[in-house]
């Protein structure tokens, strides 16, 4: 944006615009983008349903989850966007053909511990980092 435009907008009275040129308000963005916005989706991996109960002792499964959705302008607060994602969005708006939108990806990951038998019937208890998506955001 330019200072000129910004000043113009600031001097304009705050009243609803007429015609089809009116852009959506932040509230409208929220409601319309809610379905496609970047967010965490539930995905449960069941070791039992994979037929692995003979070698995985615990857990029976785990809520792995995944991130999916659009990282479109404006990046709402709930998206947990990084500062760079905001820059990425702006550059994308200027050059949508060549610059992609920010990615919807995990921002907070957690570990799970898995207890299982190996081929020799020895038992392994191992902590696997970054197995559970706790939060998603735009990067």
């Amino acid at each position: 944006s330019t200072n000129k435009n910004r000043n113009k907008n600031r001097n304009r009275p705050t009243q609803p615009q007429e015609g089809g040129s009116r852009g959506p308000s932040p509230a409208e963005y929220n409601s319309s983008d809610q379905k496609t916005a970047c967010r965490r989706h539930e995905l449960y991996v069941s070791f039992r349903e994979l037929g692995w109960q003979d070698w995985i002792i615990a857990p029976e499964g785990y809520a792995a989850n995944y991130c999916d959705g659009e990282c479109s302008f404006p990046l709402n607060a709930h998206m947990n966007a990084t500062n760079h994602a905001i820059v990425q969005t702006l550059v994308h708006l200027m050059n949508p053909e060549n610059v992609p939108k920010p990615c919807c990806a995990p921002t907070k990951l957690h570990a799970i511990s898995v207890l299982y038998f190996d081929d020799n019937s020895n038992v392994i208890l191992k902590k696997y980092k970054n197995m559970v998506v706790r939060a998603c955001g735009c990067h």
Binding site: A111, F117, D119, N122
Partner: protein
């Protein structure tokens, strides 16, 4: 999540065979396993080692739930309300520092005929060949269960020696290295833990040196007795009291998954 409860909004769909295979491949890759393990569980699924490991798993899981908060409370309640758990406080300390814990079953099926001098010696062997690369042993224990034998030995003390087999010879006795000597009350009952960290480090670094362990028990008068007489549980004893080895590991290398 912790209770394995499935959210009502969760869409449940049974995977097709090829989808299931793909999913299995992906999860195995995440777990860093080249293939799905096929354990031979002829001696019962939950003998002492899996039970001990399950105890450690439950400790970790409840810690993950409570995070750091309330951990002390949990330890305190474990000791005051339920008595000491299978895993001791020391093991919990090892556990906090470990990236991986592994238990090993004793591979010796039948007692070999040893020399008359060593006829009461008992052998133990463990397969440490399947330890993932880059894992370094931080602590290791050999665990034996002792039952009370006060009727036979009254108030006597017994001496239990644990040896590492250093060298085996075809025509003479194996060379042994004494790892620990421990005095036990005949009436004592419970798990005995022996620190074998240095030995298992050697076995991991040079597997050809892994010739197992031997134990020997003698009375206070120096008479050698069998481990069964001493109350040490062997293969013919209860499944949940079988001897085993446990090792705690720390990852020393960063594993990068290759893209498929």
């Amino acid at each position: 999540d912790g209770n394995n409860e499935v959210h009502p909004s969760f869409i449940h769909r049974r995977l097709r065979t090829h989808e299931k295979r793909e999913m299995q491949k992906e999860i195995l890759s995440i777990l860093g396993l080249p293939h799905r393990p096929r354990p031979h569980l002829s001696h019962g699924k939950y003998n002492s080692a899996p039970l001990f490991m399950l105890d450690l798993y439950n400790t970790i899981s409840s810690e993950e739930k409570n995070e750091v908060e309330g951990m002390l409370e949990q330890y305190q309640s474990m000791y005051t309300t339920q008595g000491p758990p299978l895993a001791t406080y020391q093991e919990n300390a090892f556990l906090n520092d470990a990236d991986m814990v592994m238990s090993f079953v004793n591979l010796v099926e039948d007692d070999r005929e040893l020399s008359p001098h060593r006829r009461h010696h008992k052998e133990f062997k463990f397969n440490l060949s399947q330890i993932p690369e880059g894992e370094a042993v931080t602590a290791s224990e050999f665990r034996l269960y002792k039952e009370c034998v006060s009727r036979t030995f009254r108030n006597e003390t017994l001496l239990l020696n644990v040896y590492q087999v250093v060298q085996e010879h075809p025509n003479r006795e194996a060379d042994l290295f004494l790892l620990e000597s421990r005095r036990l009350w005949a009436a004592e009952e419970g798990w005995l833990e022996f620190d074998i960290t240095a030995t298992s480090n050697l076995w991991v670094m040079s597997p050809h040196n892994n010739m197992g362990l031997q134990i020997r028990v003698e009375t206070s008068s120096g008479r050698s007795i069998s481990s069964k007489e001493a109350g040490l549980v062997g293969r013919d004893g209860a499944l949940e009291k079988q001897p085993f080895m446990v090792a705690f590991f720390k990852v020393s290398e960063v594993h990068i998954r290759t893209a498929r």
